[in-house]
Amino acid sequence: MKNKKYDIVIIGSGFAGIAAANMLVGKSLSILMIDENFHVGGQLLRKIPLELGINKKYKPDYVKKIGNAFINNLKRDDIEILNNTSVIGIYDNNEILVEIEKKRVASIHYEVILFTTGARERYLPFKGWTLPGVFSAGMSQVLMKSSGVLPARDVVVGGSGLFLFSAAYEFLKNGAKVRSVLESTGISGKMKMLPVLLHNFSKIMEGVRYIGKIGSSGVPIRFNTRIIEARGNGSLEEIIIGKTDRNGKIITGKEKIIKIGGFAYSYGFVPNIELPNLAGCKVSYKKELGGWVVDVNENMETSISGVFCAGEVTGVGGALKSVNEGETASISILERFDKNGSLHGKKKQLLKDRKHHLNFAKYFNSLYGIRDEEISEIPDDTIICRCEDVKMGDIREAISNGFISPGALKTSVRAGMGNCQGRTCGPIIYDLLGAVSGIEGRNFTLFSNRPPLKPVKIGSLINRS
């Protein structure tokens, strides 16, 4: 790190961050980009790193080619990139605290900050979901794409959403046996999607390619079906699956046992709002955009002047929405520095295109996801907060005793108090409070975020610069 203060700090180097960076360089502004991972590109642009070797089957699709071009074309002389670096705090005086390479902590000041913190996976807990061998579809993708390793040789993929099919496709491509794909919703809903999808041709083609490959390989795709329980002695050995009714409730008497080495699952994505939330940006619950999102205006600026957000953190909508918002945010930031030149027309076009991306996102998020009935059915002995071993029964009891806010639940049963700081169970608890306690419109305050946002080593704090 060369400076103590930068004109612009970008947090995250996925599609939104890297698209923004490309537009911000070359304008004589000092820019710092920070990412927790070893490589730029975020979750979607993962590939086998050069030091590991060559993947003979790597074939980026249309969207990934756009992303790879952003990475390759980025003028590295005009931007500093800190990988393997986590933001642990953000303060009122335009200051962030970061832990660099898990070795030292540094304070950095900024004029403008852009959060492109992306999204993480959403979970619907079921009995036995904590067994090793049960993992997110995202973890499967990370292992296969970044390290060339299968999480298991034979798998079932389940949950809800198109991501199930891209994970199943990746498994098949890499020689794993996919025994079945379980989609908890029905097929009729998907048909309603077609008119919206016509504006998003590349997304349809991607879906068609995945589903075609899965269909032609003879993998059964079971709709209205979900996992009931994962069992095994120390790690996963078998799963019990069941048919569901229209609302997602299990129809008893139709259960089936499958012996299996791995269960990969996904219920879509949750925006990573923790950092902007800590910065004091206004967040709100928008089910159609994936849950709790950061509110932004047409400049992609949050409720706080000089704090911008772009990509999944403003609403789950995919890579092209992220690129669009990253570029829009950049032009707004350049306007602020009086360096926007001839980009006014481009911004108008971006804002027009953004409407299509948002429409796609709204339909997409309304067709998939977790229904209240599915949450209400979680058995009492199912763990909800994995970090602190808090069970559904503990939470039901606390709710019936009047602890009906995330903060109250946290203090009463310790849910969300562990290592992950509620990143895994938080969204579950917000959904659960809606479903079980009947709080309409999610009218409550989220878990509060405080520094350190991620566990930090004492040694790093001592090495403060």
Binding site: E36, N37, F38, Q43, I48, P49, L50, E51, L52, G53, I54, N55, K56, K57, N84, R120, E121, T130, L131, P132, G133, V134, F135, S136, G138, M139, S140, Q141, V142, L143, M144, S146, S147, G148, V149, L150, P151, A152, R153, N174, G175, G234, S235, L236, R386, C387, E388, D389, G418, N419, C420, R423, T424, P455
Partner: protein, 93 residues
């Protein structure tokens, strides 16, 4: 033990890491989580209260379910570390 590595990836540098005192093959450029899973290590930690087996869930630094000891340093996320030759890994058993 079966190897879960994908054949189409041509790997360059093979190294040895030590897992609970045992020598295990890994490759430079793999994440530690991937290297451990590739060699059959699914269980990586015990849960704090119930002492249940746990292993990687998110694979991207969010869930803290893949915490291991690396060269004496406890509670490190295996998914956020790259393989280094000779690194000593402790898995809570």
């Amino acid at each position: 033990m079966e190897d879960l590595r994908i054949n189409s990836v041509e790997r360059k540098e093979k190294v040895t890491i030590i897992v609970n005192g045992k020598e295990v093959i890994a490759y430079i450029g793999e994440t530690l989580l991937a290297a451990l899973i590739a060699s059959g290590y699914k269980q990586l930690k015990k849960s704090p209260v119930l002492k249940e087996n746990r292993g990687g869930l998110c694979g991207m630094g969010v869930c803290y379910e893949c915490l291991v000891t690396i060269d004496g340093e406890k509670n490190v996320r295996a998914c956020m570390e790259d393989v280094r030759a000779g690194m000593e890994i402790g898995i809570e058993e």
